[in-house]
Amino acid sequence: MANEVCFRTLDLDRPWLLEQYQSRGGYEVLSRILKEQTPPSEIIEEVKKSGLRGRGGAGFPTGVKWGFINRDAPGEKYIVCNSDEGEPGTFKDRDILRYNPHQLIEGMAIAAYVIGARRGYNYIRGEFWEPYERFEAALEEAREAGFLGDDILGSGFDFELHAHLGAGAYICGEETALLESIEGKKGQPRFKPPFPAQFGLYGRPTIINNTESLASIPEILRQGGDWFRELGVENSGGTKLFAVSGNVNNPGVFEVRMGMPFAELLELAGGMKEGRQLKAVIPGGSSAPVIPGAQMMDLTMDYDAIQKAGSMLGSGAVIVLDDSNCMVKVLERMSYFYHEESCGQCTPCREGTGWLYRVVHRIETGQGRPEDLDLLDDVATKIPGRTICALGDAAAMPVSGMLRHFRDEFAYHVEHGRCMVGGNGNGNSN
């Protein structure tokens, strides 16, 4: 079964239009909640029941997060959506913005109602110009239809929602850097605690969720938490958008039930390109440690299974690598990314990401030394857990993962000054 939650309108003609969304029951949940003045605690309970875990990467239970806010505390509160989607391999939120923006708006309005926010922001990745315009158009439609603005549907509930276009920094996807960026400051993560639920946007209590998390809300409340949870498997309720890329015939975003075997997902993505051999999979965005292909073929796509295999489901970005890829080259590319995207404020990440990249680069270009593998291992253990935000972890994990599973390829590079994979190691079938 596919396309049951975020993509449930994908089959319609121009599903991003309000009337199309409404033809499938769009905004009914919001209307009902406002009409019945459903107690927020009930909604939170339902979301908890659904087993929805944050789709931005960390997998934190959404209902629990919402419970951190005391909606009756005086003063402004904010709901913020994270559509920054900067992790290499991730491109699922883009399709929500493009094809189902109203479901996100409805989800945010409900979240705002629950936490007592009157204002919300959707922070959209700088490169997403077309999705941004699509989202703005949807906002306009929603305002005109009275689903946003003052006294929504005569309920006395006010909620205004704004889109905020980023400027292309990956770090602005980190929730507190994102808040700084909305405030007009340099996008640098804040030290936590305090967490956004206590000290968020403009210092006010704030809930920040991923696009997919928020867009899942209306359907969860329409069909019930149990329904959603049972779509998936233990500890991984519901469906998930997987952005499959790499050496597959049909790359794209697929909404499937949690717990689907990876082999099936690969099938959906058209199977391996040119019939080549599956070498490895990076299952949850570039920061997730790599899993060798053979092992991956036995795994299911849910939080627990992937974690047991030593990696993480992350944002659901699945990067499929065939046997034409040189793992040194793959790691070099990823390390370069984290090196470039480190915000620079904290020492281990600022200095460590550059060091990692340079050593990998050295190995890739035939200048590696025998001691470099241990050096990489060591540097990669000195970053995680010692930084202000998780970018440091994100930069180190792929290094540790690669060395764990493909150490021989790195050793070969060091010894022979070249690749054991033929050709240019660029993933030829690409």
Binding site: A169, I171, K186, F191, H339, E340, E341, S342, C343, G344, Q345, C346, T347, P348, R350, E351, G352, T353, G354, W355, R358, R362, L375, K382, G385, R386, T387, I388
Partner: protein, 789 residues
């Protein structure tokens, strides 16, 4: 809030420590003397937690935590030296060093570098980093701060200093990751009067003192304590001396006085000690020609000159002494003057309005502790360019403002501030009327001339708001600054301020003009005031009258008459016309050569022992830490010898301390009284419909020493003089396209460059005082005419 936080017990490395819940761990361990390495943490700055050097292990927490950003809670167990903590600290150290140039042998910070120190304990011997290191270009931050940004460890202390303490964000971090750089973005010289503090807050050699660059190694310097001689704070400083020379000045911490900061003026003025025009040898004028002589001959000539003033002619003798002099010098100068039978002594050289405030005027001091200024909840400042006049007092006021205090200023031009404030900027001729309007809004009842002023006032919403805020304040303060003290209607401003203060229940304080203005008043170096600020009815001329009348004999000490007197042109002409002028001076200048007959070389701050009494009334003594240059002598010794040679009683002091003890005895029972102003007839002096000059003294023109401090004289705040007008007035005066302006004030005129500045109000023309460009003019406030130069 901090008061009612619970006391908790934590355990650090097996030791039990009591702390307040919520305190940051690093504060608790610091107080307990447990060392934790750190770079980004600074007790006066916000927590950034970016260097990760202070990571420690906390029981039941999987990750190491930064001590600077981890609040303590009851029962917390901390390990600062466990294998896990040490591994984390060493990891950070290695990361910090991989891109650091390790050029300690050629780095000015070498020997006093936090990175070097910590690396000794936590760094490896050999770097595992074999790639090329990062190299960062150096921005030019102006003449005070030297940059070597390759050494920067990105702790952002300097950035936070600018944003949080100086209050102007001059430095910032641009770029991401390894490309992150500290700079001004668009390159410019630093403008903050506190900028030099970034040299101290920078833990490495990225920001160092430019004047001190490559002059000495830290370990070759000997450190002495001192007092900065420039403003009413009397910042506590360390003087670093090598081979009998002051090489640099850094702050000495004193929370009550200067916290951990000093102004750039306090930090870099020592350069004035070694200016090329220092007077090295006594000099005598013989038939118009100057020649160097030995002390004996010079003293004899001085004594002969002064002796002529004794007896029946003593009213024809007067002493003008710099308010930057030490208390001992001020005391001896008055003792000598009065010993010669004259009451003519004064330190209030820039004051113009000496009309009587009655028998019991308020004592001119801050009227409270310096630190109290941060706790005011409303303040009205009358006539002060606060930041440039009193940098560290302005900093205290800023702190108050950040805590929510309401600050209003009444000035002859709008001044750049680092906090929110209500600013009333009007022509000097309207300042009294504006203050009267506030007084009227506050419901001040007065009599006589003051009543006339108040009756005529028309309060608008701003005046009413200021009055209301002052009245609502539990802790309100009205402060009179240097621009008020130089105003021709100073007594009216004081009287109105005093009445207003009483009516709204606020304290009335003064921002003393110079480092020892309060000390001078206490030492009796003021017309009509004996030591202990005791009133005397003996005939006495104040500074203004002495120079207006023209006396036969003058003793001047520590002043450049053309720059330190209210009416420079008048002062020079009067002194030139005197029969005898004996000058105690550290510098040999063309003006002194013109007006004086004897020049006795005197020691400056750091070369002499002495005491300064700051604005809050604290007596702060300082020792001479270097020998005076050339044949210069401490002025208190010169005065002692003059007293003895003149045969005056009681000049046999063994030491400067003995002088101070004598004064202290005379001050027994002295309390700075709130006083009561009784204004007799006091007509409005400054009445003018045309353009009126406002002459502020620029920060680096304040006294003889700072005027000769080379680096400061190249900062954006340094000036030799200008005329500034707003665009409307410039157009009205036909000067819209002028570059130079001919200014005429009374009989005097000078030509100065024109600067258009919208901060100057209608009716006002700002022409700084105390600078060479305006030395040919008269008093700082008065009617002027302008024409294209």
């Amino acid at each position: 809030m901090s008061e009612d936080r619970a006391t908790v017990t934590i355990e650090v490395d097996g030791r039990e420590i009591q702390a307040k819940a919520g305190d940051m761990l690093i504060n608790v361990t610091d107080a307990a003397g447990i060392p934790i390495p750190r770079f980004c943490y600074h007790k006066k700055l916000s927590v950034a937690a970016n260097c990760r050097m202070c990571l420690v292990e906390v029981e039941n927490v999987p990750k190491p935590l930064p001590a600077c950003a981890t609040p303590v809670n009851d029962g917390m167990k901390v390990y600062t030296r466990s294998p896990k903590a040490i591994a984390a600290q060493k990891g950070t150290m290695e990361f910090l060093l991989i891109n650091h140039p390790l050029d300690c042998p050629i780095c000015d910070q070498g020997g006093e570098c936090e990175l070097q120190d910590v690396a000794m304990g936590y760094g490896g011997d050999v770097s595992r980093f074999v790639e090329a290191k990062r190299v960062v270009p150096n921005p030019d931050l102006g003449p005070l701060v030297s940059t070597d940004m390759t050494r920067c460890i990105h702790c952002t202390r300097c950035v936070r200093f600018g944003a949080e303490i100086a209050g102007i964000r001059e430095l910032g971090a641009t770029g991401r990751g390894e490309h992150m750089r500290i700079g001004t973005y668009v390159e410019h010289a630093l403008n903050s009067e506190l900028s030099g503090n970034i040299i101290d807050v920078c833990p490495v050699g990225a920001l160092t003192s430019k004047p001190f660059r490559f002059r000495a190694r830290a370990w070759e310097l000997t450190q002495f304590d001192g007092i900065a001689p420039h403003d009413a704070v009397g910042a506590n400083i360390h003087l670093h001396v090598q081979n009998g020379k002051v090489m640099r000045v850094v702050p000495k911490e004193n929370e009550a006085i200067n916290e951990t900061w000093i102004s750039d003026r306090d930090r870099f003025s020592y350069e004035g000690l070694y200016s090329s025009d220092r007077l090295m040898q006594p000099m005598l004028k013989d038939n118009g020609a100057w020649r160097e002589v030995e002390w004996e001959e010079a003293l004899e000539a001085a004594v002969n000159g002064l002796r002529a003033a004794m007896g029946s002619d003593s009213a024809q003798f007067g002493t003008l002494i710099a308010p930057t002099s030490t208390v001992e010098e001020l005391y001896l100068a008055q003792k000598l003057t009065r010993g010669l039978g004259s009451g003519n002594i004064d330190h209030r050289l820039r004051q113009t309005d000496f009309r009587s405030l009655g028998d019991h005027p308020p004592f001119p001091w801050l009227n409270g502790a310096i630190a109290d200024l941060e706790d005011v909840d409303a303040a009205l400042v009358i006539g002060s360019h606060t930041r440039k006049e009193q940098p560290l007092l302005a900093h205290r006021l800023r702190k108050a403002a950040l805590k929510g205090a309401y600050v209003a200023l009444l000035n002859p031009f709008e001044v750049p501030l680092s906090h929110d404030a209500e600013q009333i900027a009007v022509s000097p001729a309207s300042m009294v009327a504006e203050l009267a309007a506030i007084a009227k809004a506050a419901g001040v009842k007065a009599t006589g001339d003051l009543k006339k002023r108040i009756d005529g006032a028309k309060p608008d919403d701003r005046h009413k708001a200021i009055a209301q805020r002052l009245r609502d304040a539990g802790h309100g303060r009205i402060l009179l600054g240097n621009l008020a003290a130089a105003h021709p209607d100073y007594v009216l401003l004081q009287a109105l301020a005093s009445e207003l203060a009483q009516t709204v229940g606020a304290g009335l304080g003064y921002l003393p003009v110079a480092a020892n203005s309060v000390g001078a008043a206490i030492a009796g170096a003021e017309a009509g005031r004996l030591p202990g600020w005791k009133r005397t009815d003996a005939a006495a001329l104040d500074a203004g009258a002495m120079l207006e009348k023209g006396l036969r004999t003058y003793l001047i000490a520590g002043i450049d008459p053309e720059l330190d007197c209210a009416n420079p042109a008048g002062a020079v002409a009067t002194l030139a016309g005197a029969e005898c002028v004996v000058a105690l001076t550290a510098y040999r200048t063309p003006t002194l050569e013109q007006v004086a007959d004897v020049m006795l070389p005197m020691a400056l701050f750091a070369e002499t022992s002495g005491t300064y009494v700051n604005g809050e009334g604290t007596w702060q003594g300082a020792r001479g830490v270097v020998a005076p240059v050339g044949k210069a002598r401490p002025a208190w010794k010169i005065l002692r010898v003059l007293g003895n040679l003149l045969g005056l009683e009681g000049f046999d002091y063994e030491s400067a301390d003995a002088v101070r003890s004598e004064l202290e005895a005379e001050c027994e029972g002295f309390e700075p009284a709130a006083g009561e102003i009784e204004l007799g007839d006091a007509a409005l002096m400054l009445q003018n419909d045309g353009l009126v000059r406002a002459g502020d003294v620029p920060i680096y023109a304040a006294d003889t020493l700072v005027r000769r401090a080379g680096a400061l004289q190249h900062t954006p705040d340094a000036t030799t003089g200008f005329v500034s007008l707003n665009p409307t007035e410039a157009a009205r005066a036909g000067l819209a396209d002028a570059r130079e302006v001919r200014v005429t004030q009374g009989e005097n005129s000078v030509t100065l460059p024109l600067e258009i500045d919208p901060a100057v109000p209608d009716g006002c023309v700002r022409i700084p005082a105390g600078v060479p460009g305006s030395a040919g003019l008269g008093v700082p406030f008065g009617a002027v005419g302008l024409e294209k130069g």
